[in-house]
């Protein structure tokens, strides 16, 4: 037991000397959301943080300005009483201008920081991140961006996204990343479509409908909805197609000098709002409806892909697809080829009974 007693002594010495790395959760300033803007060659940083009071907790906004990305965080420390911690950072939102200038430095820093998780949400803000964060402070919801992104992935048209997926698409050859896009809408922050990137630079924003088209191509989606307009029995019909589960298959033909790709989309869906004259309980009508919807979707996706090719962005990862099928792969060569590769789309939609 003498040995044990000595240990206790040693331990006590350690307690006195060693507690330098403590970050007690209630005594640090936790940043939940970080916003970055580019303004006159300087980086404006803003952060959403909690201030816990006796009865109420408040959301506060910290703002700093710096010439360098890496000094933003230390700068926050100068305006808060307690040490700033990124361990509970859930989202980083960048202004449009910042995004246009490239986000590689930012995401590389995030990726290297051990206190930051891979489920962190990145987003792009319409004009300025600061306005979005101000909107969040106004709403007093600290985790707004990450929660709203998660919710939209689960129920609506947003393809799965987080820091890891962004890094995967950014650094992976033959892919381009995309991020959710936030705008201000009557004092409220609104998730509106997707920001498409070429390499690490923002190039184009797509709307919610196109975001659905992307979603069904990049993943086995279990949600999402798209408005449609079809002509059936010589009458125009508009409504909402709800995706229950979708599945995309890609066929690559490498025989020619320029590869061609066939995209087969299979969707099990449901239409919820439609006019009463349309008798979907009739199998024949249902078949016809499925056919019409398929050709509608086929047309939409084809237009969308054409558009992507014109923009020279590849969020679907056609390049990666070609890479995985080719013995010799040259990314720069593919980039030149990309706008010209033939991509054919077929869609087959199966409607499930709506249960009326």
């Amino acid at each position: 037991m003498v040995a044990k007693r000595k240990w206790i002594l040693v331990l006590l010495i350690w307690i006195m000397t060693g507690c330098s790395s403590t970050r007690i959760v209630s005594e640090v300033q936790l940043i939940h959301s970080l916003g970055l803007d580019l303004e006159d060659q300087k980086i404006e940083g803003a952060a959403i943080t909690h201030v816990y009071g006796k009865e109420t907790t408040q959301i506060e906004l910290l703002e700093t300005k710096s010439s360098n990305l890496f000094t933003i965080l230390p700068d926050f420390n100068t305006i808060t009483p307690s040490q700033v911690e990124l361990g509970q950072l859930r989202s980083v939102i960048v202004g449009r201008k910042y995004a246009e200038n490239g986000v590689e430095a930012l995401v590389h820093t995030l990726c290297r920081d051990p206190s930051i998780g891979f489920r962190l949400q990145l987003a792009v803000a319409e004009t300025k991140a600061l306005t979005i964060l101000k909107g969040i402070r106004h709403m007093q919801i600290p985790f707004f961006i990450s929660d709203s992104v998660a919710q939209n992935i689960k129920t609506l048209n947003l393809p799965k996204t987080n820091l890891h997926i962004f890094l995967f698409n950014l650094y992976g050859e033959g892919r381009d990343p995309y991020l959710p896009y936030f705008v201000m809408h009557n004092d409220r922050v609104k998730l509106d479509g997707l920001a498409l990137f070429r390499d690490d630079k923002f190039v184009h924003r797509i709307n919610s409908k196109e975001s659905f088209l992307l979603k069904i191509m990049v993943e086995k989606a279990k949600s999402g909805q798209i408005p449609f307009e079809v002509t059936i029995k010589n009458r125009k019909e508009t409504g909402m197609l709800k995706n229950l589960h979708s599945h995309a298959v890609f066929d690559v033909n490498m025989n020619e000098s320029v590869p061609s790709i066939r995209v087969k989309l299979m969707i099990n869906g449901q239409i919820s709002d439609y006019s009463e004259w349309l008798q979907l309980s009739n199998p024949q009508v249902l078949r016809q409806m499925e056919k019409e919807l398929s050709s509608y979707l086929q047309k939409e996706v084809t237009i969308f892909i054409k558009h992507l090719q014109k923009l020279e962005v590849d969020p679907v990862g056609f390049g990666d697809l070609v890479r995985s099928r080719s013995t010799s792969w040259d990314y720069s060569h593919f980039k030149k080829m990309y706008p010209h590769i033939k991509i054919a789309v077929t869609a087959s939609i199966k409607l499930e009974q709506t249960g009326e």
Partner: protein, 491 residues
């Protein structure tokens, strides 16, 4: 010869309960000596004084000691001239009678009162089970041995007695089943018992510590129990049982750590339930040991690990606590330990009240006063509760103890500190042996077959074989084929 006797008298007469006087009256030729506290006065009256008086009144003259056996209706009269025997017999409740003519010769009459002051009620007091016998051991070794023999009626049940303690001369019994228990273990036990040099053996728990393989361990290496069914079960599995006089607790060995999480009730309930309960007990131990250190580690070092929804409650409840989490945890754990110690020392009724009042009032007040967070209060209370699930009291004390080093380590190195503490603990367990049997068996050394009755309890058809850990001589307890008859559906 006579000097020895005089020496004894001179020492003994210092004690007030030693009686030494002429029988009946001053003229009597006989002198009697005994310890009043060891004999039953009734017996002295009935068996000795009254018959003697009757003879005297009948004017029968008794001069020779040997005549006593003629009229005394006592079966246990010893005649001797060996002072050693006389002294030791007096010490166990005999009365010694001498004739004044021949002081060298004694008649020893058994007036001992072995049951005086003992409980008549032998319910188990600390090891409860709802189902199963509630008979427990008492402070008398003869009754205890009797209880065991009643249950195991086979001549294979061997009881070996010896006396230990230079002052107490306590009777110790080593009980085992010959032909099952490994003779090496028996030899080890007897050898260790015989080499014990200790003044007072008051309880079997002392034996436990004295003859333990490693005295520098917080873990109990022998299982001590007051339940008869547990002891019987231990015997049938090939363990050795050691009973000490004057102790209602009996120790069994060799043990493994898993034995301490077995409740006799496990064998009375269906095996699926008992297996679940055993797992719950082991989970309870892990919870009890790890929960507060984990709280400390996460709150002090790993704030990344707190899920989003827990963040606000944790911070809010801790916002005004002035100490770092490690001190907060130690404070609350100490409070619980105070309550537990106080509750154990106080009379039952007061103890209960104190437990409730203390628990509620102190807990509530310290949260109000922002000395602790209420989340921690729940965690500490739960881990205290979880430590009570261990059926053996000694083990649950160990678990109480183990928490503290882990809390301190986690306060210094966070999760790494917990890992270091656990590794120390596991290494210690790896090194421990009970009567030469590895303590962590059947995990290490790995004995797949013995898992049937370790942290789960399999059905009786699977526990027919005795555990290989005990290195028993005969393996089978019963024929498992008779217990399970394989049948097809609808046959």
């Amino acid at each position: 010869m006579i000097t020895e006797w005089n020496e004894f008298l001179s020492i003994a007469q210092d004690s007030n309960d030693f009686k030494h006087y002429p029988l009946l009256n001053e003229e009597s030729p006989f002198v009697i000596s005994y310890y009043q506290t060891l004999i039953k006065t009734e017996l002295l009256q009935k068996n000795l004084l009254r018959p003697l008086q009757e003879r005297m009144e009948a004017n029968e003259s008794i001069t020779d000691l040997r005549h006593f056996s003629r009229f005394l209706h006592v079966e246990d009269i010893i005649y001797t001239d060996d002072i050693q025997t006389v002294v030791s017999k007096i010490m166990t409740g005999y009365a010694a009678i001498q004739s004044k003519d021949n002081l060298q010769f004694f008649a020893l009459i058994n007036l001992a009162n072995p049951t005086e002051g003992l409980r008549t009620d032998n319910d188990t007091e600390n090891e409860f089970s709802v189902v199963g016998p509630k008979v427990g051991f008492v402070e008398n070794i003869d009754i205890n041995l009797h209880l065991i023999r009643q249950q195991i009626s086979t001549p294979k049940l061997i009881i070996r007695e010896l006396t230990l303690g230079t002052l107490s001369h306590t009777r110790i019994a080593v009980v085992y089943l010959s032909g099952i228990t490994n003779p090496q273990h028996i030899e080890t036990v007897e050898q260790r018992l015989q080499t014990i040099d200790f003044d007072i053996i008051f309880d079997s728990s002392q034996l436990d510590q004295i003859m333990s393989d490693n005295s520098n361990t917080p873990f109990p290496l022998f299982l001590s129990t007051e339940r008869i069914d547990r002891v019987i079960y231990a015997l049938t599995l090939g363990q050795i049982v050691i009973i000490s006089d004057a102790s209602p607790y009996v120790i069994t060995g060799p043990t493994t750590i898993f034995d301490f999480f077995i409740s006799p009730e496990d064998y009375y309930l269906p095996w699926i339930l008992s297996s679940l309960f055993r797992l719950i007990r082991i989970f309870g131990v892990l919870f009890s040991i790890l929960m507060t250190p984990a709280y400390t580690a996460v709150l002090t070092f790993h704030l990344e690990m707190i899920p989003q929804d827990m963040l606000a409650p944790i911070i809010l409840s801790r916002k005004y606590v002035p100490f770092p989490p490690v001190l907060e945890v130690l404070f609350l754990e100490l409070t619980i330990e105070f309550l537990r110690e106080a509750g154990a020392r106080l009379p039952t009724k007061v103890g209960q009240t104190l437990g409730i009042v203390g628990g509620i009032v102190i807990g509530q007040a310290s949260v109000e006063a922002a000395l602790t967070s209420n989340i921690l209060l729940i965690i500490v209370a739960l881990s205290a509760l979880a430590s009570f699930t261990t059926p053996i009291y000694k083990m649950s004390n160990t678990i109480r103890f183990l928490r503290f080093p882990l809390i301190i380590l986690s306060g210094i190195w966070g999760g790494l500190g917990i890992a270091i503490g656990l590794m120390f603990m596991l290494t210690h367990l790896l090194q421990l042996k009970s009567l030469g049997t590895p303590y962590l068996a059947p995990l290490y050394p790995f004995r797949r077959r013995s898992f049937a009755d370790s942290f789960i309890r399999s059905s009786y058809s699977r526990t027919a074989r005795r555990s290989a850990i005990m290195r028993v001589i005969s393996q089978w307890r019963y024929d498992p084929d008779k217990a399970t008859q394989k049948r097809d559906i609808d046959e």
